[in-house]
C-alpha cells in the first residue's frame, strides 16, 4: 500500500491542446494519503473518470507525474501498478466458477495453492458468497457479479489502491444499501487506499473520509462531508451537495451585513469589500418561514414529502427553497423568510470568501 501523489496532472484528449478549454482535466495537484477512502464526485463529463484512469494507468496524462509512494509510475503499465479496479458494469469471467473468478488474480501472480484457497475463502465470506463458490459466474444477478468484481479486487492483500468507477450504477436500488454499507465496513476492516468515482452524493459522502468535488475538469473542493455541507467552497458545491441545493441571492456585502434590493440581512461575520459577482448562499435547511423580521416572500408551492415539507418561495424575484418541519402551520399571507446568520456563506465570483474573525 502506498501514498499516491498527483503532481501537476492535466489531461487533454486532443493531440495539440492550446487553450484551457481543450483540457478534459485541468491542472490537479493532490496527495491521496495511504489507507484513506476518497470519493471523486461530480456530474457526468466533469473529468472524474479521466482522473481515475490516470491513477490506474489506463490513461497517460498529457502533463505531470503520478507517484506511488516515492516511485514515479507515470509510464508504468496498469498491470505493474498493482492496483485493483471495479468498473461500472460488472466484469466477471463467465465460464469460470465464482471460486475460479476470485482466485484468478492470485493464480496469475503464481501464488501457491494453499494461500489461494485461504484467501478466496476469506474474501467469499466478506462478500457473502461462500455458498455460491462452485457456481458458474454466468447467470448470476448483476449485484452478485459486481460483488465478485469487488472480491477480485479485495483478494490481493498487497494492492496499492482499490479504485471504483461508479460501481453501483447497475445495481437494484434496494441492493445499493447493502453493498454501500458492506464497502464502508470493508474499508474500516482492511484499510486499503480507496478511490471511488460517482455522481451520486449519497454514495460519495457515505463512503469517503474526503470527498473531492469536481466541476468542469477542475477540482473545486476537497473536504469532509460536513465541510461540503456547511462551507461549500464554490457555488457549484452548494448546488450539487444537498437536495435541494443551496439558495443563492445576489447581494452587496458591507461589513457584517448583506444588502439585497435594499433589504438588510445580518451575516455571521464581517467581510472586507468585495468586487465582482457577489452572492450570499444559504441552505434550505437554515431558512425559516416567519411572520416578521425577515425578507418578504411569496409561497409558490408546498411539496409535502412526508418527513418534511419543501416550500418553494420567491424572495425579491429570486427562487428560494425552504425546508419546513412536518405538521405545524405555514404563514399564508405576508410570509417572510429569515436566514440563520451563522449559516450564511458569502461568494465572490462563485468562490467562497472567508469572513473576518469575529
Amino acid at each position: 500500500m502506498a501514498q499516491i501523489t498527483l503532481k501537476n496532472i492535466a489531461h487533454s484528449y486532443m493531440d495539440a491542446p492550446s487553450e484551457e478549454a481543450d483540457y478534459a482535466l485541468k491542472e490537479v495537484d493532490h496527495v491521496w494519503r495511504d489507507g484513506e477512502a476518497y470519493a471523486l464526485l461530480g456530474p457526468s463529463g466533469c473529468g472524474k473518470t479521466t482522473l481515475l484512469n490516470i491513477v490506474s494507468g489506463l490513461l497517460r496524462p498529457s502533463h505531470g507525474r503520478v507517484l506511488f509512494g516515492g516511485e514515479d509510475v507515470t509510464d508504468m503499465p496498469t498491470a505493474e501498478r498493482n492496483i485493483a479496479q471495479v468498473f461500472q458494469f460488472p466484469v466477471v469471467y463467465d465460464t469460470m466458477t465464482v471460486r475460479e473468478n476470485l482466485a484468478f488474480p492470485l493464480k496469475n501472480r503464481g501464488i501457491e495453492a494453499q494461500t489461494i484457497t485461504e484467501r478466496v475463502q476469506r474474501v467469499a465470506a466478506m462478500i457473502g458468497m461462500e455458498d455460491e463458490l462452485n457456481r458458474k459466474a454466468r447467470g448470476l444477478t448483476a449485484d452478485a457479479k459486481q460483488k465478485i468484481s469487488l472480491g477480485r479486487g479485495m483478494v490481493r492483500d498487497d494492492v496499492n489502491a482499490l479504485l471504483f468507477d461508479e460501481p453501483l450504477t447497475v445495481i437494484d436500488p434496494h441492493m445499493k444499501w447493502e453493498l454501500r454499507t458492506q464497502l464502508k465496513r470493508l474499508h474500516g476492516q482492511f484499510g486499503h487506499t480507496m478511490i471511488y468515482v460517482t455522481h451520486d452524493q449519497t454514495e460519495a459522502l457515505t463512503f469517503a473520509d474526503h470527498v473531492v468535488v469536481m466541476h468542469d475538469g477542475r477540482v473545486v473542493q476537497i473536504g469532509t462531508p460536513e465541510e461540503l455541507f456547511e462551507r461549500p467552497a464554490h457555488t457549484f458545491v452548494g448546488y450539487f451537495i444537498g437536495s435541494p441545493g443551496m439558495n443563492l441571492l445576489p447581494a452587496e456585502v458591507r461589513g457584517d451585513r448583506a444588502v439585497i434590493d435594499g433589504h438588510e440581512v445580518m451575516l455571521g461575520s464581517g467581510y472586507d469589500d468585495l468586487s465582482g459577482k457577489v452572492e450570499i448562499g444559504i441552505r434550505p435547511e437554515f431558512v425559516r418561514l416567519t411572520d416578521e423580521g425577515g425578507l418578504p416572500a411569496t409561497i409558490k408551492r408546498v411539496e409535502d414529502v412526508g418527513r418534511h415539507r419543501l416550500v418553494r418561495a420567491e424572495v425579491l424575484g429570486r427562487p428560494v427553497n425552504v425546508i419546513a418541519d412536518e405538521g405545524g402551520p405555514l404563514p399564508s399571507e405576508n410570509a417572510q423568510v429569515a436566514f440563520d446568520p451563522a449559516r450564511i456563506n458569502v461568494y465572490a465570483n462563485d468562490w467562497r470568501v472567508e469572513g473576518r474573525a469575529a
Partner: protein
Amino acid sequence: MEKTVNHKAWFLVLPVLVLVAFSAVIPLMTVVNYSVQDTFGNNVFFWTGLEWFEQMLKSDRMWNALGRQLVFSAIILAIEVPLGIFVALNMPKRGFWASVCLVLMSLPLLIPWNVVGTIWQIFARVDIGLLGYTLRALGVNYNYTQDFFAAWTTVIVMDVWHWTSLVALLAYAGLQSIPDAYYQAAKIDQASRWAVFRYIELPKMAGVLMIAILLRFMDSFMIYTEPFVVTGGGPGNATTFLSIDLVKMALGQFDLGPAAAFSIMYFLVILVISYVFYTVMTNLDKRDGVA
C-alpha cells in the same frame, strides 16, 4: 417482455409459405416419389418400395463418397475456424485500417462459386497457371489432375481462401461486442494473453462461432461447384464428394431412382448433423447456469 399474440399475423406470412411450398416442399415430394419407384422412360413407373434405399446402403460407392465428404468437412473446419479466429484477433479494432480490412476480407465472399473454381483451375495449372508453374519450377511434384494429394490440397486451399473470411468476419463481430472494461480488468488481474483469449474472447465469441461452424459445415457438406470445375471429381474418384457423386448418378447415368434415394439420405444426414449442432449450441448456454 412477452410478445403480443396476434393470429392475423399469419396472413402476412402466407405468401412466403406458398412460395416455400412451391420451391421446396413440392420438389422434395417429387424426389420422394422417385425414390420408391422405377422407370424405363415414357412416364411409366413401377413401385419398388425401399429397394433403392437398400441398394444404396449396400453400395460402397455411397459410403466412400460420404467418407470423403466427412474428411473434407472436418479438415475445412479444422483449418478455417482457428485461422478465422486468428485473423479476427489480429485485425485492427477501429479506424481507417479496420474498414480497409473489412472490405478486403469480404472480397472472396462476393465471388460466385463457379468463378472461384475457374480462377483456381487456371491458377493451379502446371502449364500456364502462376501457382502450378511456380511449384513445378521449384521442383515440387505438383499436378492436381493426376496426383491425389495435390488434388485434395488444391480443393482445400481453394475453400480456405474462399471462406475463411466468413469465419473471421463473424468472429470479429463477436470480438467487437466485448466492452473495454473486460480488457482493462484482465490487465489489472495480470492475465496472460492466452488467459484473455481463453476466458474473455472465446466465451464472448462462442455464440457467433457456433453459427460460423454450422454455416461452414453445411456449406462444405454440400460443396459441388468448385471441385466440379477444378478437378471434376478426379483424379479417379479422389475428390468425388457426395453432391458430385449424386449428380453423376442422376444426370450422368440417369439412375433416377437410386439418385433420389441417395439424395433423401443425404438430406437426412445433413438434417441430423445440423440438429446435433443446434442442440449443442443451445445447451452451451444452459449448461453454464449451475456447474
